[in-house]
């Protein structure tokens, strides 16, 4: 036990001290912030092509609808430059449109809106402009026109214009709520998808990065021949265990640092990125995450995503730990099998394929988390460590499926530790060419 601690401490400290670790830890949150912020920044752009109302309104109704629409647009989009109003009679509409096309071409306005008597009748309205393909923009303009047509009609029926104006001014926002087996859930669907994706990707990243770190570490001990001195003092099983635990804790340290730094970064950077609203959301959910105490690993998604339940957080953690041990021990065996950096990538290919196979199915599984494929992949020990967390965050997963998947991974873990321990024991002191499959079987057989 004392020796396990010595090995463990070396693996941990030497890594945590390294420049690359410090750099990765600091740059991680910057990266995540960009990834987390990008959809919102892009989304914000989409919602308001900021100059949305900078258009020409050609009013051929003869009823003054244009003036109302211009006012409505100005009120609705205060940040945008104001719309122009051109009032024409029905015969002048065509000429006015031709002129407007030129203005749009010269980028004097974004587009133009043509209001006709047909518009007042509720039939149609025409919009042409550079953003005519943007559903958001076109919807916003249509809603503005629609509202004013309504007001105009009501007034015609003798309803008090001011009251109509009053009644019709309200921002109706649609709030959505996901319902699961246990009733209402806290996160909305989009956040859940993002959360699931982020968690699965993070698990994958950590397993790849730190699994390979173990592989290189074994290879280094072999290549520098330090292995023999070490195994003369400590049993190979303890050496392997210390290595996996040490490097695993480095991974956990890294994630935790990212969480803390990300929460800090979000708290301070959110106002600049997302305005005051974003700041409030970030702080609130960061506080909520920490307050819930269950899922610190998800704090980096503090951006408007509420924490997941405690049991799910525990399941996620177990998935990571066991998934890491499973793959790390396989990587360690690969490292012990080969003698050079050139050979190692090739020898690691089967293990990488196992890992990648779970990631390439992430897209379809996210699209349909209840499908047979999603269920199978989340139960298969090789992909469960990544796919099960994805499913848990997306849809309600029956407890027995989670327990089943975890037991499967645990069994796979035991098998890979046993196998890798034997390959490691023999391979660590074997120099020369890469073993064939037959030789590998012999190693496993002959290890004490």
């Amino acid at each position: 036990m004392a020796k396990l601690w010595v090995v463990f401490r070396r693996e941990y400290l030497e890594r945590v001290r390294s420049k690359w670790f410090v750099l990765g830890t600091v740059l991680g949150p910057v990266f995540f912030l960009l990834v987390a912020g990008a959809p919102r920044l892009i989304g914000a752009r989409g919602e308001g092509t900021r100059d949305l109302a900078h258009i020409e309104v050609i009013d051929a109704t003869g009823e003054g609808l244009g003036a109302r629409v211009v006012t409505a647009l100005r009120d609705r989009f205060p940040l945008s430059r104001a719309p122009y109003l051109t009032v024409v009679d029905e015969t002048g509409a065509t000429v006015a449109q031709d002129k407007a096309v030129l203005r749009v071409q010269r980028e004097e306005v974004l587009g133009f809106l043509v209001l006709t008597p047909g518009t007042l009748a509720g039939d149609s309205v025409r919009y042409e402009g550079r953003n005519a393909n943007s559903h958001n923009d076109v919807d916003a303009i249509r809603n503005a026109v629609r509202g004013q047509v309504l007001v105009e009609r009501m007034e015609r029926e003798g309803i008090d214009a001011q009251k109509v104006e009053q009644f019709s001014r309200f921002p109706l926002e649609l709030h959505t709520q996901r319902i699961g087996d246990k009733g209402r859930e806290k996160a909305n669907q989009l956040s859940a998808i993002f959360l699931g994706y982020a968690v699965a990707l993070l698990l994958y990243m950590m397993i790849v990065i730190y699994g390979q770190a173990i592989m290189r570490s074994v290879l280094e001990e072999k290549a520098t021949r330090v292995a023999e001195v070490v195994v003369s003092s400590v049993n190979t099983d303890i050496l392997l265990a210390g290595k996996i635990l040490g490097v695993g804790l480095v991974a956990i340290t890294q994630v935790l640092s990212w969480v803390v730094l990300s929460i800090a970064a979000l708290t301070y950077a959110a106002p600049y990125l997302f305005g005051d609203e974003g700041r409030a959301a970030a702080v609130a959910s960061a506080a909520g995450t920490v307050g819930a105490g269950g899922s610190p690993g998800l704090g980096l998604l503090a951006l408007g995503i509420p924490p997941i339940p405690l049991w799910a957080a525990v399941a996620l953690f177990l998935c990571f730990v066991m998934g890491f041990i499973f793959y790390a021990s396989l990587f360690a065996a690969v490292g012990a099998m080969v003698n050079s950096q050139e050979d190692v990538q090739q020898a690691a290919t089967p293990v990488m394929l196992l890992l990648v196979s779970s990631v390439i199915f992430m897209g379809p599984i996210m699209a349909n988390p209840g499908s047979a494929m999603a269920r199978t992949m989340s139960m298969l020990p090789t992909s469960a460590p990544i796919i099960m967390p994805l499913r848990i965050t997306l849809v309600p997963v029956p407890w027995f499926e989670v327990v089943g998947a975890l037991s499967g991974v645990a069994a796979a873990c035991a098998a890979s530790i046993w196998l890798s321990g034997r390959v490691y024991r023999v391979g660590l002191l074997m120099y020369g060419k890469k073993p064939s499959i037959r030789e590998l079987v012999r190693w496993i057989k002959y290890a004490r």
Binding site: K3, V6, E221, R225, V226, E228, V229, S232, L429, Y431
Partner: protein, 320 residues
């Protein structure tokens, strides 16, 4: 307490059909310097690795310092320098040494003190420079060898096992290593080292064991081994142009089994049953002018060649 530092009995290690070590027994008294001699591939490294519990023997028993070698804690009292040497390249020297010391159960505080002493002693730390703070790969090869050596001895082991310790050492480090071995012995420690350089073994070892193809060829105290093989070796020098005259005598396989021509003199190994006096009579009879005719104690080198090199190893030739 057993007075043997190493007591190996009937150890066998096979890899498929190939026997790396066959029925090997070794007894190394405490407080001695012991040489494990043999050609490359003789099974020296396998034997050493079995002692250190890196490889498990198929059968036989190994007792180190009075305890079975697999007993926990026994490896903490052993210092091991493998033939293939290396250290963690990117690690600070002091941290590597502390790691190796702690693996042997030395407390951190003690380890730091001892590392400091050793670094000073081997001039890796002086008023100008402390190499202990450098990374291993910043050190020259010679310095790395010193660090490796400190790693072997930092926990003050009772039994020191060195596998081909002199190979690749520069003369200065080789001298330092030799001094250290002598000093270890003077402090009552046991040192066993393997080598295929017989001269080193002859100068340094109290006792030796020669193994070849996994079998023991002979073992015992160096002086005794040499004495046991004396009377079989003759040094003969004749005047320059008389070399031609003695050639027929030297070619007589009934008298002389092997001739080693050193240019200035011959070294003759007598054939089984032949008598040195008979050889002398024959040489005199040729009329050659004899400058030297002497019965000599054979060097380990010659014994090695006689028992291993020339004829290889034959069945039944495993006694002392």
């Amino acid at each position: 307490m057993s007075d043997l530092a190493i007591d190996i009995r009937n150890v066998v290690k096979r890899y498929d059909q190939y026997a790396a070590v066959s029925d090997l027994s070794l007894a190394v008294p405490r407080g001695t310097v012991y040489g494990l001699l043999g050609p490359n591939g003789a099974g020296k490294t396998t034997t050493i690795r079995m002692m250190l519990n890196i490889i498990v023997p198929d059968s036989g028993s190994i007792i180190l310092l009075g305890s079975p070698h697999r007993q926990s804690g026994i490896t903490d009292r052993i210092g091991y320098l493998p033939e293939e040497r290396g250290l963690y390249k990117k690690m600070q020297v002091r941290r590597v040494l502390r790691f190796l010391a702690e693996l042997k159960g030395v407390k951190r505080r003690d380890a730091d003190q001892r590392i400091d002493d050793w670094l000073r002693r081997l001039d890796l730390k002086n008023s100008e420079k402390d190499w202990g703070l450098a990374k291993v790969d910043e050190l020259s090869r010679g310095m790395q060898q010193k660090v490796q050596f400190i790693g072997t001895l930092v926990h003050d082991p009772d039994l020191v096992i060195l596998d081909e310790p002199f190979s690749g050492l520069d003369p200065i480090n080789a001298q330092a290593l030799k001094d250290a071995i002598v000093e270890l012995k003077s402090r009552g420690k046991t040192v066993i080292f393997s080598t295929h350089v017989m001269d080193t073994a002859e100068r340094l070892c109290d006792s030796v064991c020669i193994i070849a193809r996994g079998r023991k060829v002979l073992d015992g105290a160096v002086a005794e081994v040499r004495r046991a093989h004396s009377g079989r070796m003759v040094a003969l020098a004749v005047e320059g142009d008389a070399r031609r005259l003695v050639a027929p005598v030297l070619a007589d396989r009934r008298l002389i089994s092997r001739v080693d021509d050193h240019n200035l003199y011959y070294e003759l190994e007598l054939a089984a049953g032949a008598d040195a006096q008979e050889v002398l009579r024959r040489v005199v009879a040729t009329g050659a002018a004899i400058q030297r005719f002497e019965l000599v104690l054979p060097s380990l080198h010659q014994i090695f060649l006689e028992r291993v090199g020339a004829r290889g190893i034959e069945p039944g030739l495993t006694d002392g």
